[in-house]
Symmetry: C2
Subunit: 460 residues, 2 copies
């Protein structure tokens, strides 16, 4: 191994090869602190060419590679195992904004650029890069691509997959595939970029991407409204889309428990309560006033528990702060068994009802905090207080997951809507995912990465 | 083979196995009449289960399969070779509208449903399925998926790939992969549907799909305007998107030659002429009047050669008829060497200028008719009169293609934007596409279809 490390140091530069425990520590513990790995080393190459050299060296020495961006995976997708034999490849030094093409509405960035930096590069060019996540100051484009990240703007702009025009990736044999053309239409063969998006680094290493840009909206209209049930929320979603089309850029919901948690930690922010609160945002070019008027007019003829439309940017930020503070407020409230689930939007009401009934029967007094991106059929569904006190919560994790995922799959849903699978859900994936689909994925993995050196120990 | 055919007849029903030349004729000649095949037979299975049985039988007998939908490929992608040994599998009998889920804005249809039937099923449910093509009355969803079809609404709604939530496909070994869930977010592993979209049937047979629906617009505002150059057109595109966001649903251009062709065959339809005409359409929910007013107001402060905004549905149809009649008018004008090219939108002006200069130098007096989806960087670029008279036009096809494609690839473009590759462009693909990308595609082909029985003789 010392020969390997010496060669590695020669490639990335000695100061970018971390081998002692103190230096490697930030790269070995996952964001939720559930996975702690022991790496062979952490290498921080500074260019695509260097990544290519590192991959070729690893292949020659049969060393497995765990790629890592901002290390914000909620599923342990970027954490090495405990063997001390996996190399963590940190991509942060690939942080160039390579090209902004305003006429083509495209932005080419390297994998280590943070989501926030990509957003800022777009804004500096008078454009919007719409992916928006809680961790955007830290998470990196390579990770966003590898998990096909979602967030609060998917309803309007799609997930990371739909926001990507092209990729550059280092293949498992070290060769560099460059498909950064930035075309909106191309039918010359298979769309190879799709293989790497959402693959969590198991088929190769994404080193750069060409992303879609959109016009920067000049008008927003934002409202928080209360409705009596989730069916009404879905009805509103469809009627708002019918009236406003894709000016409807956000449609987020939170249930009564979620509101209680928020009220406990942010009493002054909560406008009112209702069985379900909906955060609605419209965005558009042109003047803000007509958009706000149109939303107020639309709301004025609806039946609702209560509602407020923001009158200025401060009020708008206040409504969004509520949405953004959910996770942190929950954390303060203690641990919970978290689920990142999606079903067809039409099935959300049944999921919410049936799942709560079964959980309540299995664990009387259980608390469910449900919130998220109802417009995508995607709920963050967090379970706690399975028993009096919370000491044994994670003892019940498997039983809770089985109840939740049984309902999700019965309704044609998924156990990983936008956070990926990583280590956390790989056993659950094996249990719920169609075996034929898994077999096909493994066939492709074997064809592209025959030595199995790309992020092993995850779900593939 | 008689044993094979007897078994095949038993699976699909004798009346759905066509073996004599008269019966098979409609399936053996491509739409542009450039490819004439000789099939072993034409089988028309009536269900996914039957398709699966046919594929298993073919695999046992090592018989190659050429899937065919509406037989409208412009590249010979659905035509068998001349060996008399390939089975044409016509999918028209898989024509069920399986499910319309309005709350989830999803439509599940079988592969043999025509695009028009899918549009109508959506409209009957008060929704829009936005893919829109000249051949929509004939082309089928399976073919639209297999070529990742585009058309006039891509600017706003994306290509067929982006309109697809899930697929059902029969794999090369006959097993059925069902991924029709209709989820908008799913990060449980590789997105397998991407493998089959745009693969022209070379990795398996698509038998059904779950497609995205959108609100049915209640308002349209449509204008035809003339501008002096393509740069101005691109500038308008970006400013219209900035002002109207995704209410801008079409942005089509036609050059002066294209206008001449139209004027010759539809003199009464042509409103005026200009170096470039742009067809602009906005769509929205709500009332039409404010949308029309907004477009008129926006146009009133622009500098343009001339312009007209439609005042009613008849006038609107007239403007669209012009766009739709281009191909037919050209056909009446005689043959042309056709290209379906795309570059980054920002590179369109250079492409138009440089390519015309080089063609004119090589073939003085050459006629170029350019029109298409400028919003996607996609032009249909047709070349004729390479010499006095048109007798030898196709003798110059290779030379013309080389000039056009050299420019396209120098600018980071593609030689097949929305029509696919098929037989027509496979040699050109081999010449211009990155060899590493082609190698990767072949690796995947070998892994999924090791016997090479799925639509052989095309580009993979």
């Amino acid at each position: 191994m010392s020969d390997f490390l010496a060669r590695l140091a020669a490639i990335v530069g000695p100061q970018h090869l971390l081998t002692n425990d103190i230096d490697t520590a930030p790269y070995t513990l996952d964001w939720r602190r559930r996975y702690q790995g022991v790496p062979l080393a952490v290498a921080r190459p500074g260019s695509t060419a260097k990544v290519s050299e590192v991959v070729k060296l690893c292949r020659a020495h049969k060393v497995a590679i765990v790629p890592q961006g901002g290390n914000t995976s909620t599923c342990g997708a970027a954490t090495p195992d405990g063997s001390g034999r996996q190399l963590v490849l940190a991509l942060r030094r690939l942080n160039a904004i390579r090209h902004v093409d305003t006429d083509n509405n495209a932005l080419t960035v390297e994998a280590g650029v943070t989501l926030l930096e990509a957003q800022q590069a777009a804004e500096a060019a008078g454009r919007l890069f719409p992916l928006s996540l809680a961790s955007q100051g830290t998470c990196q484009i390579g990770g966003n691509l590898s998990t096909n990240a979602g967030g609060v703007a998917v309803l309007r702009y799609g997930t990371m997959r739909e926001l990507t025009l092209g990729l550059e990736a280092v293949l498992p044999d070290g060769r560099v595939l460059n498909q950064l053309q930035g075309l909106r239409k191309d039918t010359t063969g298979l769309d190879l970029k799709q293989l790497f998006i959402g693959a969590e680094g198991q088929l190769g290493l994404i080193t750069a991407a060409t992303l879609k840009l959109y016009p920067l909206p000049s008008a927003h209209a934002t409202a928080m409204v209360g409705v009596d049930d989730i069916e009404t929320a879905i009805d509103w979603l469809n009627r708002l889309r019918h009236r406003f089309g894709d000016r409807l850029t956000a449609f987020e919901v939170m249930d009564a428990s979620c509101q209680q948690v928020l009220r406990r930690h942010h009493p002054s922010l909560m406008p009112f309560s209702a069985p379900w609160l909906i955060l609605i945002e419209l965005s558009d070019g042109g003047d803000p006033a007509p958009l706000n008027d149109a939303l107020v007019e639309w709301l004025s003829v609806q039946t609702m528990a209560d509602g407020v439309v923001s009158q200025n940017e401060t009020e708008r930020r206040k409504l969004w702060t509520l949405r953004e503070e959910i996770s942190e407020s929950q954390r303060k409230d203690g641990p919970s068994i978290k689920h990142d689930i999606a079903v067809p939007t039409s099935a959300l009401p049944r999921l919410v009802r049936d799942c709560a009934a079964d959980l309540d029967q299995a664990f009387p007094g259980v608390r469910i905090v449900a919130f998220g991106h109802a417009g995508d059929g995607n709920l963050h569904y967090n379970v706690s207080y399975t028993r009096p006190g919370n000491a044994d919560l994670f003892d019940d994790e498997d039983a809770v997951n089985a109840i939740v995922y049984d309902h999700v799959y019965r309704l044609g849903g998924t156990l990983a809507a936008e956070h990926g699978v990583g280590q956390l859900k790989k056993d659950w994936l094996a249990r719920y995912k169609d075996p034929l689909a898994l077999e096909l994925m493994r066939t492709i993995k074997a064809a592209l990465d025959p030595d199995g050196l790309m992020n092993p120990g995850k779900w593939l």
